[in-house]
């Protein structure tokens, strides 16, 4: 057991198994359509662009850019409620489409500084919640 105190994602092995397997090894696995070659997120059983059911997974760069963010001053869920202000973010992935997550290691008292980083490079970091689930977080590239 770890001391991870946040709500833990509930992985669906059928639609997103490879993501969670990759997460355990610190790899960002993304789904890509074998017919139109586009990456989509969140994972689905078919491609939302061309509706092909030929989806394969590949190891992505784990990098993207900061599209937008907000500093959450309060929360109600266990773990987040005690966290104090934290930053949620939308990340445009290098390979296409967008993920939602938490941006670590930023000064929450200076949102203007984070604001200036919109469009900047970020990279993924997985945090172990339990033996099965490693949760994706994001950090600004130094």
């Amino acid at each position: 057991m770890t001391d991870y105190n946040k709500p833990i994602p509930d992985p669906d092995p059928y639609t997103s198994g490879p993501f969670w397997e990759g997460a355990k090894e610190g790899k960002l696995m993304l789904p890509r359509c074998e017919d139109c070659n586009r990456v989509h997120w969140y994972p689905r059983i078919l491609c939302p662009f061309c509706y092909s059911r030929s989806i394969s997974w590949f190891e992505a760069s784990g990098e993207g850019t900061l599209y937008s963010f907000a500093v959450q001053q309060r929360a109600f869920a266990p773990g987040w409620a005690e966290e104090g202000p934290y930053v949620t973010c939308f990340i445009d992935l290098n390979e296409g489409d967008r993920m939602f997550g938490v941006l670590l290691d930023v000064d929450v008292s200076k949102p203007e500084d984070i604001f200036a980083k919109i469009g900047s490079k970020v990279s993924i970091e997985f945090v172990k919640a339990n033996d099965d689930v490693h949760v994706p977080y994001w950090k600004l590239a130094s």
Binding site: I8, D12, F90, V135
Partner: protein, 405 residues
């Protein structure tokens, strides 16, 4: 395909007996708020609930019909968030234009405040999300998501970045809403007597209010109240057979871009661009002909983004409509949210019904009856654009309404 424009009119609009914060120790219930509002609108119009043929509500339709012994010919429970009621009007228009029904009821009752008081605060987390939906594993609770503000804040951040707008620009929207609330005695934020944060307020007050989710401050965020409302819609043939004046449905449209904000392409553009286009086309009118705006204001950012999507202001230029109080009482521009809006009047969780009620009052010349509005609230508008936004900037319903000539 025939154009359903003007095939139906709203002939009455009313609220529940009381609205606002905790109304009694016991609080109110959803059924109570629905039924009070329906009873009030039927009395106003001079119609018996038994004459209602189509019943429309956000997921509460069978309960309403049963309670009132209505035997409907048309049942619609579309529940897509706070915009649901604008969609209901669109659906009722279509059903009436198709000749299926002549009399439709759209109602809403939601004890948002009482529910919060009685059951404690939201808990975040999964809440039994469908494992195939993004909320289970890839958005929301596990990543610090909570309530509604956390999501909308990202849209405001993006607008500030993409268009160079400022927090002051957004704050003016809240200031004008409070100014309108001072003319609405039923508004929760009517005055400092009704609430310490009541109207009037300044831009600085908004900026100085508690941060909720940067860049959203408390006064950028809507209220959580109890309220109910109802409107009656009838066919063109019947529009002049009641005690009240008709307000015509010239255009209607609905659309959506996403449900989870994770799937929203441009955080500064909603599907109002599409629902608005449909409504304008049906009406044969454009944004330049709109004289009143009733624009869903869950947050200041909701209004800013929506008026741009509807073509009332250029992309990135929403502030043109609001600066210096232009949209407020006695302002030089288009009056917007003349009841005080969800920011200052009442917001139960799904606010869209109140947009309809106020638009009806303004266009029927009844916005200043002393109870729902005092001197200065009635505008001279003969046309109105009404836009509901539901979910996380997700679903939109747009109506073009015109006064009876």
């Amino acid at each position: 395909m025939t154009n359903p424009s003007m095939a139906a009119a709203i002939v009455g609009a009313a609220e529940s007996d009381e609205i606002g914060f905790a109304l009694s120790e016991k609080g109110t219930t959803n059924t109570q708020l629905h039924i009070e509002a329906i009873n009030n609108v039927c009395k106003q119009v001079g119609i018996s609930p038994r004459e209602i043929e189509g019943v429309f509500s956000a997921g509460f339709t069978p309960q309403i019909a049963e309670y009132l012994h209505i035997r409907p010919k048309y049942i619609d429970g579309t529940a897509v968030g706070g915009s649901s009621f604008e969609l209901h009007v669109h659906h009722a228009l279509a059903a009436i234009a198709a000749g299926v029904i002549d009399v439709a009821l759209v109602s809403h009752g939601e004890s948002g405040r009482s529910a919060r008081k009685n059951q404690g605060r939201g808990t975040g987390g999964r809440g039994g999300a469908d494992p195939w939906a993004p909320g289970a594993a890839f958005s929301g609770g596990p990543y610090g998501g909570w309530g509604a503000p956390f999501n909308y804040a990202h849209a405001m951040t993006r607008h500030l970045h993409q268009w160079g707008s400022t927090k002051e620009d957004f704050a003016q929207i809240a200031v004008s809403a409070r100014d309108w609330a001072t003319l609405n005695p039923r508004a929760v934020m009517h005055s400092k007597e009704t609430d310490p944060n009541g109207g009037p307020i300044t831009i600085q007050d908004v900026l100085d209010s508690r941060l909720i989710s940067w860049p959203l401050n408390l006064l950028d965020v809507c209220l959580v109240t109890d309220h109910g409302g109802a409107v009656l819609i009838v066919s063109a043939e019947k529009a002049h057979s009641f005690k009240t004046q008709p307000v015509w449905i010239a255009g209607a449209g609905e659309s959506m871009g996403h449900w989870d904000m994770l799937e929203m392409d441009d955080l500064t553009l909603t599907s109002a661009v599409n629902s608005g286009k449909t409504a304008y086309q049906m009406a044969g009118m454009g944004p330049g002909e709109m004289e009143l705006g009733m624009i869903y204001d869950s947050f200041t950012v909701t209004v800013g983004i929506t008026v741009e999507a509807l073509g009332l202001a250029p992309r990135g230029g929403f502030m043109e409509l609001f600066e210096g109080g232009k949209s407020g009482p006695g302002g030089s521009g288009m009056p917007i949210n003349t009841n005080g809006g969800g920011l200052s009047f009442s917001h139960s969780g799904m606010y869209g019904m109140m947009l309809l009620v106020e638009a009806y009052r303004q266009l029927s010349g009844t916005a200043e009856d002393g109870v729902h509005g005092i001197a200065g609230k009635q505008t001279s508008a003969q046309t109105a654009i009404v836009n509901g936004t539901g979910g996380s900037l997700s679903t939109t319903g747009t109506l073009v309404l015109v006064a009876d000539q």
